[in-house]
C-alpha cells in the first residue's frame, strides 16, 4: 500500500460507502450536541418521523448561552431558558446522554469531551460548532458542522463528505520561553491568513508540537478553523495515551491495551504525500496580540500596529483600514501602549487547567489594575474543582479577578457576559470579529499569560520580561 497520512488512515477506516458520482459516506463515531445549533435539527427529525439512530454515540451538554454566575437559580433570559429547555426535552425524548447545567460534568463541549475520555484517537467526531477541530489534538478527525448536518448525523450517524486536501505544518525546534501554543496558533494564522487552510485538513507535526501538553495541543488544533481548515490533527503519542488513560469513558483493562496498540499505528507514514507543506521556525515566534478584526491581523507584543502601506492588495488594505477604525487604533502605535478595560480568561481555546495555572503564575501576589474588570471562566465544572483544590481561585480572587462558573461565556457573549460598546478586552478566546464579545466591543486575542499580565498592568505587556516564580 502507498504511504498514507494520518488523515488518510482515519478517513479510510470510516468510509462506509463510496457510491459513484456521490460524496463518500463517512461514519461518525461521536456526535457532540449543544443547545444553540441543535433545536432545529431535532425538530427536523420529528417532522420526518425519524429517531436518533445511535443515541449512545451522541452526547449533549449546555454551554453557549448559560450564565456563569452561581448555579441553581432560574435563567433570567427567557429566550435562553427556552433554548436550554428545548435541549433537555429533546435529550429526554430521543434518549441522548445529557450533562445538564447542574451536573458536575457540565462544561464547554470541547473541554468535557476530552476530559471524560469521550474523545479518543482515531475517531471521527462532529459537533454543530466550528471549534470541534479542538479534538484533533488526540489524532481524531474532528470538524464543525451546521444544523442540517447535525440532523443528518442524528438520523444516520453518517455524513456525506468530500475528502479535503492534506496540509502539514511542521514545527521543529523548541518554543521560546513565554511563547505558548496560543502564540504558535496565532503565528501560523498571521502567516497563512484566515483562509490559508480552507479546503485542507492540517496535520501539525514536529518536535515543538509533540513537546506540547494535551492542553497546548487542544489550543493549537482549536484554532485550525481560524485558518479556514476543515480540521487540525496531531498524531497520538505517549503524551496522548497518558492523558486519556483512566478517564471515565476511556477503554479499560484489556480493551485499553488493544486500543493503544491500534492508536500507535495512527501517524503519517514516512513518504506520505501532503498537498501543501508549511514549515514554521519556533525561534521566530513571540507572544502575539491581535490588532484587528480577524485572527490573522496579529503582531508580536513588542511590535506596533501596522501601517496601511504594508498591505500589498487593495482589498486587504481596505479591510485593515476598516478594522483599525472599528478597533479605534492608529497605525504605528506600540502594542504595549494599548490599554484594556476588560480581561477574559476562558473559552474552548484557553480555559483548561494548564491555562489557569499559567494565568495564576502571573497573577500570584499581584493585583488587577484599578480600571480593569477581569474574569476567569473555567472550561468545565471539573476544571473549576481541580483549580479550587490547587488554590488557584484564591490567587485569582486575591488579585481581583472574578471567578465564575463554567461555560462559553464572553467568547461569544450569548450569555450576560458581554463587552459594552467601546470597551477593549484582552481575551484568551479565538475570534476578534466585530461585535463578537458584545456590540461595539474591541477584542484582542492573546495567551492566558498575556491576558493576566494585561489585567495587572492595564495595558498589553511583554510577559517574557516578567519575573515569574
Amino acid at each position: 500500500m502507498a504511504p498514507r497520512t494520518l488523515f488518510d488512515k482515519i478517513w479510510d477506516a470510516h468510509v462506509v460507502a463510496a457510491p459513484p458520482g456521490q460524496s463518500a459516506l463517512l461514519y461518525i463515531d461521536l456526535h457532540l450536541v449543544h443547545e444553540v445549533t441543535s433545536p432545529q435539527a431535532f425538530d427536523g427529525l420529528r417532522c420526518n418521523g425519524r429517531r436518533v439512530r445511535q443515541p449512545l454515540r451522541t452526547v449533549a451538554t449546555v454551554d453557549h448561552n448559560i450564565p456563569t454566575t452561581p448555579r441553581g437559580g432560574p435563567i433570567a433570559d427567557p429566550i435562553a431558558a427556552r433554548q436550554i429547555e428545548a435541549l433537555q426535552k429533546n435529550c429526554r425524548e430521543f434518549g441522548v446522554p445529557f450533562f445538564d447545567m447542574d451536573s458536575a460534568e457540565q462544561g464547554i463541549v470541547h473541554v468535557i469531551g476530552p476530559e471524560l475520555g469521550l474523545t479518543l484517537p482515531g475517531m471521527t467526531i462532529v459537533c454543530g460548532d466550528s471549534h470541534t477541530s479542538t479534538h484533533g489534538a488526540f489524532g481524531s478527525l474532528a470538524f464543525g458542522i451546521g444544523t442540517s448536518e447535525v440532523e443528518h448525523v442524528l438520523a444516520t450517524q453518517c455524513l456525506p463528505q468530500n475528502k479535503a486536501k492534506a496540509m502539514q505544518i511542521l514545527v521543529n525546534g523548541k518554543l521560546p520561553a513565554g511563547v505558548t501554543a496560543k502564540d504558535l496558533a496565532l503565528g501560523i494564522i498571521g502567516r497563512i491568513g484566515t483562509d490559508g487552510a480552507t479546503g485542507y485538513v492540517i496535520e501539525y507535526a514536529g518536535d515543538a508540537v509533540h513537546g506540547l501538553s494535551m492542553e497546548g495541543r487542544m489550543t493549537l488544533c482549536n484554532m485550525s478553523i481560524e485558518a479556514g481548515a476543515r480540521a487540525g490533527l496531531i498524531a497520538p503519542d505517549e503524551t496522548t495515551f497518558a492523558y486519556v488513560r483512566g478517564r471515565r469513558f476511556a477503554p479499560q483493562g484489556k480493551n485499553w491495551d488493544s486500543a493503544v496498540a491500534l492508536w500507535k499505528t495512527l501517524s503519517s507514514d514516512s513518504g506520505a504525500a501532503f498537498d501543501r507543506l508549511i514549515e514554521i521556525d519556533p525561534a521566530s515566534l513571540a507572544p502575539y496580540v491581535t490588532w484587528g478584526t480577524n485572527p490573522g491581523m496579529v503582531v508580536p507584543v513588542n511590535a506596533r500596529v501596522p501601517d496601511l502601506s504594508s498591505f500589498a492588495a487593495d482589498a486587504d488594505r481596505r479591510a485593515a483600514e476598516q478594522a483599525l477604525a472599528y478597533m479605534d487604533l492608529k497605525p504605528g502605535t506600540p502594542i504595549e501602549q494599548i490599554g484594556v478595560d476588560r480581561v477574559f480568561i476562558g473559552s474552548c481555546t484557553n480555559s483548561r487547567i494548564e491555562d489557569l495555572r499559567a494565568a495564576a503564575r502571573v497573577a500570584k501576589g499581584r493585583h488587577v489594575n484599578a480600571k480593569v474588570r477581569a474574569m476567569v471562566v473555567p472550561g468545565s465544572q471539573a476544571i473549576k474543582m481541580v483549580a479550587e483544590r490547587e488554590g488557584l481561585h484564591r490567587i485569582f480572587l486575591d488579585a481581583g479577578f472574578e471567578w465564575r462558573e463554567s461555560g462559553c461565556s464572553m467568547c461569544l457573549g450569548m450569555n450576560p457576559d458581554i463587552l459594552q460598546p467601546g470597551e477593549r478586552c484582552a481575551s484568551t478566546s479565538n475570534r476578534n470579529f466585530e461585535g463578537r464579545q458584545g456590540r461595539g466591543g474591541r477584542t484582542h486575542l492573546v495567551s492566558p499569560e498575556m491576558a493576566a499580565a494585561a489585567a495587572i498592568e492595564g495595558h498589553f505587556t511583554d510577559v517574557r520580561k516578567w519575573n515569574l516564580s
Partner: protein, 207 residues
C-alpha cells in the same frame, strides 16, 4: 429543500473580504429554536444603529438594493462560526445566491443544504460584477445552475464549478438524509464491528 435551477435577480455588492458569520447574524439572535424569521436580523449591526435606526450607507439599506436576491462579496465569505442561522438569515431575507471568490467550508456546506447557491468566480470576475452593480442601478444577473453560468444583459458571462453531487441535490431539491439511509446495510455493517459505549446509557433520561 427548495430546488435551485435558474435565477435572475437584482445584485447587491457587499464590497468586503472575510465577511464572518458573526456579522451575517450576530449572536444575540441565535437563541430562537425555529429555522424561520432570521431575515430581519441579517447583518444587523451593519444595517442598524444600536438604537435601531437604519444605517443608510450600508449597501442593503440603500433603496436601489432593497430587493436584491444575489449578493456579491469578497473572498472567504462566511468564515468563522458554523451557525447555519447565517444561511437561514440570508435566505429568509430573500437571497437565492451569493457570489464570491472563495467561501468558508462550513458556510458553503450549510448553504447548499438550504437551497442557497454559493457561486465561486475569480477575483477579477467578482470585481467586475461589483463594479457593474455599483455603476448601473437595477443591475441584474442570471445564475443558471444547469449550465453553471452567470450572465448579465450587458455581455458579462462567466462559468463556475460546483461539486457534481451537491449540484444534483440542489437541482432536484433532494433530501440527502433519505439518500444516506439507502445505505442502511453498509452503515449497519460498520456498527456491528464498532461497539457503542454502554456506560453512556446511564446518562440518558428517557422515561
Amino acid at each position: 429543500m427548495q430546488p435551485f435551477r435558474k435565477h435572475t435577480g437584482l445584485v447587491a455588492p457587499l464590497d468586503r473580504v472575510n465577511v464572518d458569520t458573526d456579522q451575517i447574524i450576530p449572536k444575540q439572535f441565535l437563541k430562537r429554536i425555529e429555522r424561520t424569521g432570521f431575515g430581519q436580523f441579517l447583518f444587523n449591526d451593519w444595517r442598524f444603529s444600536p438604537e435601531g435606526k437604519e444605517i443608510g450607507d450600508f449597501v442593503l439599506q440603500q433603496p436601489r438594493y432593497k430587493s436584491a436576491t444575489i449578493l456579491v462579496a469578497g473572498k472567504n465569505f462566511g468564515c468563522g462560526s458554523s451557525r447555519e442561522h447565517a444561511v437561514w438569515a440570508l435566505s429568509d431575507y430573500g437571497f437565492r445566491a451569493v457570489i464570491a471568490p472563495t467561501f468558508a467550508d462550513i458556510f458553503s456546506n450549510n448553504s447548499l443544504k438550504n437551497g442557497l447557491l454559493t457561486v465561486r468566480l475569480s477575483e477579477d470576475q467578482v470585481a467586475e460584477i461589483t463594479r457593474r452593480a455599483k455603476a448601473s442601478e437595477g443591475y441584474q444577473l442570471t445564475v443558471d445552475l444547469e449550465t453553471r453560468t452567470v450572465q448579465d444583459s450587458q455581455g458579462f458571462s462567466a462559468s463556475f464549478t460546483l461539486d457534481e453531487f451537491a449540484r444534483h441535490c440542489l437541482l432536484n431539491g433532494l433530501d440527502d438524509i433519505g439518500l444516506t439511509l439507502q445505505h442502511e446495510k453498509e452503515i449497519a455493517t460498520y456498527e456491528a464491528q464498532h461497539a457503542v459505549r454502554e456506560e453512556l446509557r446511564a446518562l440518558t433520561t428517557r422515561p
